[in-house]
Subunit: 188 residues, 2 copies
């Protein structure tokens, strides 16, 4: 696919067709995403691949529960803007997506956030190049329950950086408006 087409079609997608995404395709996209640059070529990302809807629902419920607890401990937390969604039992933070890929890694690694974000960027492009949509769902990242973490294969040391949902988009919405970039200074 032309890169300009990826720029146009890579949007955050929250509504998907029923069509499943084959695990083999997710694996191929993950492999391609390892081409992302990383600090010192350390490639600190670890992945969990989920196509099981029940498991996605459990992760969503666990994360919502923890975010609500966080909000109750600190009513000024920025997630207050999501409070009504989080308190809605029907609300699944992963919407009706047929697949979820979790990008995680060692929480003590100094460059974890940046390197996993670069990986995620490649992964979202890999999806767009195949006609798939994605959305990075921060609300799905607060997984603390030891039993559930163990089922996901996450050690205590692992931090979930990017839970990314994937599927065939029902529609590709227009890009939300971008501001003119804030170029503070040009030094020639």
């Amino acid at each position: 696919m032309e890169y300009s087409e990826i720029l146009r079609t890579r949007r955050s997608i929250r509504s998907y067709e029923e069509r499943p995404v084959p695990v083999e395709l997710l694996r191929e996209m993950i492999r391609e995403s390892t081409l992302a640059p990383s600090s010192g070529n350390n490639q600190p990302w670890r992945l969990v691949v989920i196509t099981n809807g029940e498991m996605m629902r459990r992760i969503s419920d666990e994360s919502k529960k923890n975010l609500i607890a966080r909000l109750e401990a600190d009513p000024g937390d920025y997630i207050v803007r999501y409070e009504s969604a989080l308190r809605n039992r029907e609300y699944n933070v992963f919407y009706n997506a047929p697949a979820l890929v979790i990008v995680a890694g060692s929480r003590d690694y100094r460059n974890l956030l940046v390197d996993c974000a670069l990986f995620a960027s490649y992964f979202m492009n890999a999806a767009a190049a195949r006609g798939l949509g994605t959305c990075w769902v921060n609300l799905g990242s607060d997984v603390r329950d030891p039993g559930l973490r163990a089922e996901l294969g996450l050690s205590d040391d692992d931090r979930i950086v990017a839970p990314i949902i994937i599927g065939y988009p029902r529609a590709i919405p227009a890009a939300p408006i971008r501001r003119e970039p804030d170029i503070i200074r040009i030094i020639e």
Copy 2:
């Protein structure tokens, strides 16, 4: 350009042709990079564009000085692996690149690192799509001198996330080897 071609040619480039990069082209690439996703579409990135070699040298010297001070305060700091380069007065962390774009933003913003990394990923692709090379140079980010920060237009609140050098590559090296991705678990 085909996206597969960008995947193949987007490499970290540390040796550039003498050829300058027009500021207007950098501006166009920055504008394109605002298509990157950001948390809540907040677009927290702020940019400094530099094509002045003397200024790049000053930023390099300032950052090297601060990194050496950090190393002297904590000899176990990971940057010890760069010590001999940092102590070499001739060494310019930005090599001979004709341009530098600094991606920065408010240090208190919770999603700054991730959002700026996504912007940087788009910017590095924007460069590759135009036959330009880039390298994210973490060693160039430790700028503390108030006078120099003021010249760059950075407030106390701004954190430099990504100093990215840009230019026409002398050569495009092969990709360093990627490990097979660590897929911890597949849950179907």
